[in-house]
């Protein structure tokens, strides 16, 4: 597919999709928690912009509702909730130090290539501009998983978890132009409840371990003490 031969609106969709992937990478490398939350909010904003653009491009009206839901949940509600919790726990200056940032970023790059190679057969079938985005959204899921395993603070793990949900939503928008409405509402409800429960958990972890470092959570295992 030659990018230059596409109509301008579709080129713009691909450009914004690339920017969404960029936010995934910057989440991966961002040690400061407040900055990471802000970056996550930007990811949500970009995601809803792409959704609106796809909606305009395809003329599917229910995608406007999805875009609105995403904007409310991922760009406003969840970042606001996380910000509030971080302030309440006086956690603003905390950093989640990455031990080998270069290695992690390189691994991220490898993951993206890997995802493109897996999604190649799917792309070949496609006839729509949004098809290349499947590989991209798979990469977002993988990058979020990488972030999840390289971080030590509960807050950053939650951001990674939510970034993974973003990747899944992106896959649904790009591959199939959204899911049936009942499913989409169900998923949004689940994410909403999950965000609240995560908030509850921060307090429990803080009360029990006096920090939000998940390295403390390692007493249950099969190894002999």
């Amino acid at each position: 597919m030659n990018i230059m031969s596409l109509p301008l609106s579709e080129q713009a969709i691909l450009l914004f999709a690339g920017m969404v992937l960029f936010t995934s990478f910057s989440l991966l490398a961002q040690p400061r928690i407040v900055a990471a939350i802000r970056m996550f909010a930007w990811q949500g904003v970009l995601l809803s912009i792409v959704t609106v653009m796809v909606a305009v491009d395809t003329g599917l009206h229910h995608l406007y509702i999805s875009a609105l839901l995403t904007l409310l949940m991922k760009a406003i509600f969840i970042p606001w909730l996380l910000h509030r919790l971080v302030h309440k726990m006086e956690f603003q200056r905390e950093q989640d130090i990455l031990h080998h940032p270069v290695l992690v970023l390189l691994a991220g790059g490898v993951l993206v290539i890997f995802c493109y190679s897996i999604a190649l057969p799917i792309e070949r079938l496609g006839n729509s501009v949004t098809q290349p985005i499947i590989a991209l959204s798979m990469a977002m899921v993988m990058l979020a998983m990488l972030m999840l395993i390289t971080r030590h603070k509960a807050v950053s793990q939650v951001i990674a978890f939510m970034a993974m949900e973003n990747g899944l939503f992106f896959a649904a928008v790009s591959a199939t132009h959204g899911m049936p409405m009942v499913v989409e509402l169900g998923i949004a409800f689940d994410v909403f409840v999950a965000a609240i429960i995560f908030g509850v958990f921060f307090f429990h972890i803080k009360d029990s371990f006096d920090s939000l470092d998940v390295d403390h959570l390692s007493s249950l295992s099969e190894s002999d003490q």
Partner: protein, 495 residues
């Protein structure tokens, strides 16, 4: 259809109601009443299905056939008996652990919410709603795992949340891919996630996309089934949460996740039927066999080194889920029949065992295997309940688990004879591991000043009698259902 709405609606209503009044003295009684209503409507549903085979049509939101009707009934019945056990048990726990009113409200509301998500997942026709309800099952139970607010229970709940959340996210990706493949062949796009439509059009689905989707779905729902190496959350969540929850988690939720896998495998098998080599045609089966066998072997070995009684039996759950996954992966009519039977008898037996274990832990005041001693001397009912339960789960004749394991073994010998060796070895190692721990707990002298507790043991014996009955004679209606499902999955029946 009304009965399905009533069945699913009752626990949903219960979750909301008990969220308000669950802490009152009547909380446990309301919980019991609602579970009773759910059970009655599930039994009525069983009656309906025995008359007309299928409830719902190709484009309805709910679809009840021979595969999910008995799982629905199992869920509702075990939900009821466990609610009966939970009343006095949680009263005792609330006193010992000083649980506040808010937490008792949370407990009762989550209990009903959990039952709701499982019934919704089993009865829905929509793969997307199935995903939503399985994620909902995680959300309703995660705060139950950390109900006691001890550091280790919070650790267990966090692990459970993150691992199951990440796992099930993979399943959503798989669902998106299925929808993508289906939207190309199913005329009405809005119906593309309905299982009946997918099954009818399965042969036309693109095999490459379905293969990728199946891998994602297997990893996703496999996390909830507790397949190794995605099982780490399971022993933690079982051992740290309140025991009634361990009983429903082990006996029911794992079944629901496996049920999702079976439904998806049915579509995948049909989609790959046209492929050239046998290896690709059976890809889904091979993957499930592999995961099942690894889970079985690892769990059997880990049984030996457990020190916590609830962790011990959660590894036993992983072992049996591995066996069932293996049975469905094998995919012969006999092994499928065995897998369906095993889901039923394991669900009944494991919930019975966890009820006995809960009482045993209350008698001894600890879950540590080394400190639980002399149960039969202290309280014969609990001791014998635990002992007989263990005998049943280890696969002794004439109980139902023996029947299903025997059927599975004989179909293994017919297809892959050399795989019978690890299966037989594993079963005997599991037997040794269980009895090494259980024997001194039940027999042996009781420690001084160990007192009996107020125990509700009839659910245990009821479950075990049903399992015994299923081992001696399977009712005709039930075997007819199993046979129908076997024909649906494999193309030929066993009867």
């Amino acid at each position: 259809m009304m009965v399905v709405y009533f069945l699913v609606g009752t626990p949903l209503f219960g979750a909301l109601l008990l969220g308000i009044v669950g802490h009152k003295k009547e909380g446990a009684r309301i919980n019991l009443l609602l579970s009773f209503l759910t059970m009655i409507s599930s039994l009525y549903l069983v009656y309906l299905i025995s008359q007309q085979q299928i409830l719902g049509n190709d484009s309805s939101d709910f679809y009840i056939d021979s595969l999910n009707v008995y799982l629905l009934a199992l869920t509702a019945v075990v939900g009821f008996t466990t609610a009966f056990f939970s009343g006095p048990y949680m009263l005792h726990e609330a006193k010992v652990r000083k649980l506040s009113d808010a937490r008792m409200r949370l407990y009762h509301s989550s209990y009903q919410g959990f039952i709701f998500t499982m019934l919704l997942g089993l009865s829905t026709n929509n793969l997307g709603v199935l995903w939503v309800s399985l994620e909902g099952a995680t959300l309703t139970t995660v705060l139950l795992v950390s109900l006691y607010r001890t550091p280790s229970s919070i650790e267990a709940a966090w692990k459970y949340f993150i691992l199951c959340g990440v796992g099930i996210a993979q399943a959503l990706f798989g669902t998106v891919l299925v929808y993508f493949a289906a939207a190309k062949v199913i005329p009405n796009v809005e119906d593309s996630l309905l299982w009946t439509q997918l099954f009818a059009h399965a042969g036309e689905l693109n095999p490459v996309i379905i293969t990728i989707a199946f891998v994602f779905l297997l990893v996703g729902y496999g996390t909830k089934v507790g397949l190794v190496p995605l099982h780490n959350w399971l022993p933690d969540a079982h051992s740290e949460g309140p025991t009634p929850m361990s009983a429903v988690l082990s006996g029911l939720l794992l079944n629901v996740a496996l049920y999702a896998l079976i439904r998806i495998k049915m579509i995948t098998d049909l989609a790959l039927e046209g492929e050239q080599t046998v290896h690709i045609q059976n890809l889904a089966g091979y993957l499930m066999m592999g995961f099942g066998l690894i889970s079985f072997t690892v769990a059997v070995l880990f049984l030996h080194r457990q020190r916590d009684i609830k962790r011990l039996f959660s590894y036993s759950s992983i072992e049996h889920m591995g066996l069932m996954t293996f049975a469905f992966g094998l995919g012969t009519p006999l092994s499928t029949f065995a897998g369906l039977l095993h889901m039923l008898v394991h669900g009944l037996t494991k919930s019975a065992i966890f009820i006995s274990v809960g009482h045993a832990a209350q008698i001894a005041g600890t879950q540590s295997i080394e400190k639980i001693r002399g149960l039969i001397q202290t309280q014969p009912k609990v001791g014998w309940g635990l002992l007989i339960g263990t005998v049943v789960i280890a696969g002794f004749p004439p109980f139902g688990i023996f029947t299903s394991e025997f059927l599975l073994l004989s179909s293994t010998v017919h297809t892959y004879p050399w795989l019978a060796i690890p299966l037989l070895m594993g079963l005997s190692i599991a037997f040794a591991g269980l009895f090494k721990h259980i024997q001194p707990m039940c027999f042996g002298n009781k420690p001084e000043n160990q007192q009996p507790v107020k125990a509700t043991m009839w659910p245990v014996f009821l479950h075990l009698i049903i399992v015994l009955w299923l081992g001696l004679a399977i009712p005709e209606q039930l075997s007819q259902w199993f046979n129908n499902v076997t024909i649906l999955i494999t193309g030929s029946g066993v009867l």
